[in-house]
């Protein structure tokens, strides 16, 4: 899939900078994010703890509380509108109708004192009529019987679609009667209830068993095909993105340092960090004791390293790496890398040897 298409992208980050004000100092959490997501993409945003992937993704529905965060530069474009300028009712409409979010922990994502039916009906009515600004769960109000019934029916069919057995009966249960995997399915159902354009899934399977994780992945893949969903998957699990995504973006310390087609990133990674990351994953072929990784530790972002934020841990660092953060450059078909090693029009620097 080529990046340059005639259609405007669904999501576009243009040089986004963001900071967080804390007592200890200002954390420079986003350092110039550039990323495009096309309609129909299933893109995995990969990176380790603290790299800013959640903040990046949550900038689209503007779910990052501002203070303590603030965006100092750049824009986030969604469906042709700059989300940073949206607020109030307009923002709520966008969130209700065009974006669905699934969070990490299915154990706390559902309100324990309401039944599934009440919560799903509330969610559906919110999205369809953009109601619910009273904050009171619609499922409890004796509001418009017909609407409520229609929403309830839709909820049941959604539950069936996401694979909850005996949906008609189970919908009246409370969250604690469901297992983690089932709860996550319910949350996914609620997220896609309004047929959103974009589904953001933030570590949706981290808290789940491997077998349940596989089921959820399969579900997401099917939904993408069926309802023409675009998915932004945030995770630190590279196996997941390998199996699910058609594109991968790798983040490190507030920057997207490599992005491209999944196969290309996994089989021919270019950025030294991406390589280090992939080498750190033990596979069947890794002989005991030979697992390499990335030496050192993730830097603090109050006083981040100058220039390329990875240079302090990079085996290929050069003096000019300290000066400025390299921009994303095209290094292949739809593949971009932010590293000086590739800056002569995407050709690797021969002097520094082994990188091809």
């Amino acid at each position: 899939m080529s990046v340059t298409t005639a259609l405007p992208p669904l999501v576009e980050f243009r040089n986004l900078y963001a900071e967080m004000v804390t007592f200890d100092g200002v954390v420079k959490v986003l350092n110039g994010i550039n990323l495009t997501i096309q309609k129909g993409d299933l893109i995995g945003l990969v990176g380790e703890t603290g790299c800013g992937k959640s903040v990046t993704a949550m900038s689209i529905p503007q779910l990052v509380p501002q203070p303590p965060a603030r965006y100092t530069q750049g824009e986030v474009w969604f469906r042709g509108e700059n989300m940073l300028e949206k607020s109030g009712e307009a923002l709520r409409q966008i969130r209700a109708k065009h974006i669905g979010v699934v969070f990490q922990d299915p154990m706390t994502g559902l309100n324990p004192v309401f039944t599934i039916e009440q919560q799903m009906v509330d969610s559906i009515l919110c999205r369809e009529d953009a109601l619910g600004s009273t904050g009171f769960p619609q499922g409890l109000l004796p509001v418009n019987r017909r609407k409520r019934q229609a929403a309830s029916d839709r909820a049941i069919s959604l539950l069936k679609r996401v694979g909850v057995p005996e949906a008609e009966k189970r919908i009246h249960a409370y969250p604690h009667e469901f297992s983690g995997g089932m709860r996550q399915r319910v949350l996914i159902a609620m997220a896609i209830a309004g047929r959103p354009d974009l589904l953001i899934a933030d570590e949706p399977t981290t808290a789940l068993d491997v077998s349940v994780q596989a089921q959820i992945l399969r579900l997401i893949a099917e939904l993408v095909r069926e309802i023409d969903l675009t998915v932004l998957l945030i995770t630190h699990n590279i196996g997941l993105v390998a199996q699910l995504c058609n594109r991968i973006a790798v983040m490190y310390a507030g920057n997207v340092i490599e992005v491209g087609p999944a196969r290309s990133i996994l089989t021919a990674p270019k950025h030294p960090y991406t390589r280090g990351l992939l080498q750190a994953i033990p596979t069947a072929e890794t002989a005991r004791g030979t697992l390499k990784g990335v030496p050192g530790m993730v830097p603090g972002l109050i006083h981040p390293p100058s220039g390329c934020r990875f240079h302090t841990r990079c085996a290929f660092a050069q003096p000019r790496c300290k000066i400025s953060q390299p921009p994303l450059l095209t290094t292949g078909d739809g593949h971009q890398t932010a590293c000086v090693l590739y800056d002569s029009v995407g050709v690797p620097d021969e002097k520094h040897g082994q990188l091809v």
């Binding site: 703890t49 068993d209 596989a214 390998a242 699910l244 033990p282 069947a284 697992l291 990784g293």
Partner: protein
Amino acid sequence: MILELRNVSKVFHSGDRIVRAVDNVSLSLTAGSTFGLIGESGSGKSTLARLIPRLIEPTAGDIIFKDKTLTTLPQRQMRHIREQIQIVFQNPFSSLNPRMTVRQLIGEPLVIHKRASGAALEERVRDMMALVGLNTEHANRFPHEFSGGQRQRIAIARALILEPGLVILDEPTSALDVSVQAQVLNLLLDLQNRFGLTYLLITHDLSVVEYMADQAALMYLGAIVEQGTISQIMRQPKHPYTRALLSDVPSTNPDQRMLEHISLEADIVSAPWSKVGCRFSPRCSAAQVSACKTIEPLLEVVGDGQRIACHLVNVPVND
């Protein structure tokens, strides 16, 4: 054999419900090796980890450590045994007392067992910190000032300062990022070589087990369903659960598309075991025979030391 478990069981009573968290488990560990215990949530692996040093009392069975039967020892003598069996827990964020400094945490085993004090203790603590890769200048800091990987190093330092024979690692790297995990795993291997440690590695991560372990066993709902060398389990898995689990692990190789084939459906809550027949049958996608629903399969040898608990022993391997 440094550790042997014989028919160990643990039954929990909650109200009138009985939960067999560990059901008749037997295994043995060779000194200096790493044994991987693989299981998902509800498999009983963590309970088993706590049974061995008798943090929880087993309901039945024997635990034999270095030829001493632990299950019959009085609690007083167990304290002495605890110097030799240590545990590193999963969650580096909650397994260290937030109010104790690193020095106090690492030095505490020495204090409890009266092995050192004063300057000698200080020195041992510093040596340990250096060994696991921690900056000794940070000895006065509190756990919350460290990253997850560093906290696990503190936990490892604390576990090893008494030079135990057996270290139980309960999901030691599950909460860590991949590159940090690599560092911690390499540290563990290094320490094992240096001190001749025996590891019981408990995890759900098959790739970690493959990297670290020599032998492994898979647990499902409290019982062992397959056991053998790492190579046997990974390359010639025979039990349907093992095969399904292996196929469910997302591979970083994009050519191995796993989403296509059917593997494990439902989960242990929505497809519960009725206590009759094979505990895996509600989720088993292999062609089952009538015995599967009525008789519980026993762990039997099927090859070169490989054991599985399944009536369909001759299931053909097709990868």
